[in-house]
C-alpha cells in the first residue's frame, strides 16, 4: 500500500524522548489531565519525564488553540514610535510546539488564519505566532458528550493543517507527517521512528471507525449541521430565537471558548516614557457593548439579536464572505453554557420549524 511510505511508528518511550528534544527548540504545549476536574488542559511543560496527567488520549482540551495563536490580549502598536520601526520583532516570538491538538481545533486555526492573515491587510503579530507554531495533531480516542464534529462532516482526527499527526495504537503511535516541517522532525530523529506496519494502520482505521460510530450514535437525534446555512437564513422569526436564548445570562462564555470565534477590540492605554500602547483584546458579540456606538446607538441592543447574530455569523455570513462554516463541532460552547443552551438542539428546533413551514 503506497500510503504506508509516509507513515511511521514511534513507541511511547521514544515519543517522550522526541518531545523532550522538541522542548529544547521552543515552547512545548501538551494536554494534561487535571486531577480534580478530569478535564484536559493545554499546558506548557518543560520538565521531563512529562508531568503526571500528561496524555494524548481523550478528546479536545479545555483551551482552544487560539489561546496561543491569537492570545486573549496583546499589544499591537506603541506610539509615537520610538525607533521608526512599527513592526513586531520576529525574533522575540517563541517557536511553539502544540502536541496533541485535535482535528476540530486544527481546523479552527485554518479558519482564523483566513481572517487574520489573508486579504489586503494581515495581523503581523498573529502571522508570526502562526508561522512559528508547529502542530502535532492527535486522533481523539474518546468523545465528549457535547462533541458533534461528525454533524459538520468533520472527523475526530486531524485531516489536514497539521505538521505531524499521531494516532494511538498498541505500545505507541502511528505517525503521519502533513508538511515538510513534520517530515523534517521525523528525518532529524530517524532513530526514534520505525516504519509503520500494516497492523498499526489497520488498528488506527478500526479505532477511527469505532469513534465515528459512537459520535453518530450520540448525535443521532440532531440534524447534520453542514446543511444549515440556507435554513438559518430562512429562520427569521423572533419567536424561535427567543426560545433558544430564553435562559441566556449574556456571559460571553460561548464565544470566549469557541475555537473559531476571533472577534477583538482595539483599545489604547498609557505606556512608559509618555508613549501609548494599542492593545488587541478578545471580545464577545454576546455582550451589549460590542456593537454600541457613540451616542448610545446599538443595532443589536436586544439579546435575541445578539444570539441570532452569533448563529448567523458562524453559519451564514462567514460562509458567504469566507467560504466556510465557522464551527468545527467541538462542543465547547455547550459545555461552558450556564443556561444549558445546546447548539445542536437549537439547530434541531430551527430545522423542525423550517420543515413545518414548508408543509
Amino acid at each position: 500500500m503506497s500510503f504506508l511510505v509516509h507513515m511511521y511508528y514511534i513507541d511511547a518511550t521514544n515519543f517522550e524522548r522526541l518531545l523532550k528534544k522538541l522542548s529544547g527548540e521552543g515552547e512545548l504545549y501538551v494536554p494534561v489531565r487535571n486531577a480534580e476536574t478530569e478535564k484536559l488542559r493545554l499546558e506548557r511543560v518543560d520538565t521531563f519525564p512529562l508531568p503526571e496527567g500528561t496524555t494524548f488520549d481523550g478528546y479536545r482540551t479545555v483551551e482552544p488553540l487560539k489561546a496561543i495563536a491569537q492570545l486573549l490580549r496583546y499589544p499591537v502598536a506603541e506610539y509615537p514610535s520610538t525607533d521608526g520601526d512599527d513592526m513586531p520583532d520576529e525574533a522575540s516570538f517563541p517557536k511553539t510546539f502544540i502536541v496533541g491538538a485535535r482535528g476540530c481545533d486544527i481546523l479552527a486555526m485554518a479558519l482564523i488564519d483566513k481572517v487574520q492573515i489573508e486579504g489586503e491587510f494581515a495581523d503581523a503579530f498573529y502571522k508570526i505566532r502562526r508561522d512559528k507554531m508547529v502542530v502535532v495533531g492527535a486522533d481523539c480516542t474518546e468523545c465528549g458528550k457535547s462533541c458533534f464534529c461528525t454533524l459538520l462532516g468533520n472527523k475526530p482526527w486531524p485531516e489536514r493543517g497539521f505538521d505531524l499527526s499521531v494516532a494511538k495504537v498498541r505500545g505507541g503511535y502511528v505517525v503521519e507527517p502533513g508538511t515538510e516541517v513534520g517530515e523534517k522532525i521525523v528525518g532529524n530523529n530517524r532513530d526514534l521512528f520505525a516504519g509503520a506496519q500494516d497492523q498499526h494502520v489497520r488498528e488506527r482505521g478500526q479505532s477511527r471507525a469505532a469513534l465515528v460510530r459512537r459520535l453518530e450514535t450520540q448525535n443521532a437525534a440532531y440534524p447534520k449541521t453542514d446543511t444549515l446555512p440556507p435554513i438559518v437564513r430562512g429562520a427569521l422569526t423572533d419567536e424561535i430565537w427567543e426560545d433558544i436564548c430564553a435562559h441566556c445570562i449574556e456571559c460571553g462564555g460561548c464565544t470566549n471558548i469557541c475555537p473559531t470565534c476571533y472577534c477583538f477590540l482595539l483599545y489604547d492605554q498609557a505606556a512608559d516614557g509618555g508613549h501609548f500602547q494599542r492593545i488587541s483584546a478578545m471580545d464577545s458579540c454576546q455582550v451589549t457593548g460590542y456593537s454600541r456606538m457613540a451616542g448610545m446607538l446599538n443595532p443589536r441592543a436586544r439579546l435575541i439579536d445578539r444570539v441570532k447574530h452569533r448563529y448567523y455569523h458562524k453559519y451564514d455570513y462567514l460562509v458567504l464572505s469566507h467560504g466556510a462554516i465557522y464551527c468545527t463541532g467541538c462542543g465547547r460552547c455547550i459545555d461552558v453554557c450556564s443556561a444549558s443552551i445546546d447548539m445542536r438542539d437549537a439547530f434541531r428546533r430551527i430545522k423542525d420549524k423550517a420543515g413545518s413551514r414548508k408543509e
Partner: protein, 272 residues
C-alpha cells in the same frame, strides 16, 4: 508587510469651528496619505482611542487632510478639546469609497443631513473637479437649525460651480431670522426634476434620516440598486478582522462604508 495597527504620527494644524457641536480638524500626517473619495480613516487621540471618520477634504490634497467631527462620544469629546499643535494619529485609508465610476454620465443626487455633509464634501470636490463628466449634480442638504448647517461658506460656490450643478438646503424647524427653506431634508425630494432612470442617489446622515431618505427615494421611483447609503456601525480594526461592523455578511470597513441599498435591504434592523 507593515503593521496596520500603527497610527501615523499626525499634527493638528488648525481647528475650525463649524457649528456649536461640529469642528473641522486640519491634519498634517508625517507622510502623505492618499485616499479615494468616501474612504475612511481611523483617527487616534493618544491614550484615548480611535474612531472612524471619512475625511471632508479634497482627495487630491495628500499632504493635509481635513476631518469634520460631531462631538458625540468619548473619542470625539477628546478631539473637540484639542488645540492646534496637538499630536494625533491616523490609520488608513480603509473601505471602498463612493462608487464614482458608476456616476459618469448620470444625474447624481446627493442627500446629506447634519454632519453627514462632511464625507459628502469629498464627493462634491471630486465631482465638481470635472462636472462635465456627469449629466447633473444635485445636492440636497438639511440640518436641524441654522447654526447646525456645516460648510455654509461654500454653498454659493458649489451651487454656481457649473450649469449642471444645484445646491439646496433646508432646516428642520422654523427659526428667527431664517428666510430659507424649512422642513426635513426629505421634503427636498418631493418634486425632483431628475430623470430617475439615469440617476444614482448617495446619502449620508444619521440612521433615522437614512431610513426616511431611502423610503422617500423608493416612493418617488428610485430602485434599490440606484441608492447608496453611508451606513453606521461600531468599528474597531477597519480591515474586516475584528468583525463588529457587519451589515448582514458585509463588513462596512471593507465593503462600505457606503453600501448599495440593494445589497442590504433584506437585513433585519438594517437602519438600527
Amino acid at each position: 508587510m507593515n503593521n496596520p495597527y500603527y497610527p501615523i504620527d499626525t499634527l493638528v494644524e488648525d481647528v475650525i469651528t463649524e457649528t456649536p457641536t461640529i469642528k473641522t480638524f486640519v491634519l498634517a500626517p508625517a507622510r502623505p496619505i492618499k485616499f479615494k473619495s468616501g474612504q475612511f480613516m481611523q483617527l487616534t487621540v493618544p491614550g484615548v482611542g480611535e474612531a472612524p471618520f471619512t475625511p471632508s477634504s479634497d482627495p487630491r490634497e495628500t499632504e493635509k487632510m481635513e476631518i469634520t467631527i460631531l462631538r458625540t462620544g468619548s473619542v470625539t469629546e477628546a478631539l473637540h478639546a484639542l488645540k492646534p499643535g496637538a499630536e494625533v494619529g491616523l490609520r488608513g485609508p480603509f473601505g471602498k469609497g463612493y462608487p464614482i465610476d458608476k456616476m459618469a454620465g448620470k444625474e447624481v443626487l446627493i442627500v446629506g443631513g447634519g454632519v453627514g455633509l462632511a464625507p459628502l464634501r469629498t464627493l462634491i470636490y471630486t465631482l465638481l473637479d470635472e462636472p462635465a463628466k456627469y449629466k447633473r449634480i444635485s445636492i440636497k442638504y438639511g440640518a436641524r437649525m441654522p447654526e447646525e448647517l456645516c460648510f455654509r461658506r461654500q454653498y454659493d460656490e458649489w451651487g454656481k460651480a457649473a450649469r449642471n450643478v444645484d445646491f439646496t438646503h433646508t432646516i428642520d424647524v422654523p427659526a428667527p431670522n431664517w428666510s430659507g427653506r424649512v422642513g426635513l431634508v426629505t421634503t427636498l425630494l418631493d418634486k425632483l426634476d431628475i430623470n430617475l432612470e439615469n440617476s444614482i442617489a448617495i446619502s449620508c446622515g444619521p440612521e433615522i434620516m437614512l431610513k426616511f431618505v431611502t423610503l422617500k427615494l423608493l416612493e418617488v421611483g428610485y430602485t434599490p440598486p440606484q441608492i447608496y447609503l453611508s451606513m453606521n456601525r461600531k468599528m474597531s480594526c477597519g480591515m474586516g478582522k475584528c468583525a463588529r461592523c457587519n451589515v448582514g455578511h458585509y463588513y462596512l470597513c471593507v465593503d462600505g462604508p457606503d453600501m448599495c441599498y440593494d445589497k442590504i435591504k433584506h437585513v433585519p434592523n438594517v437602519f438600527g
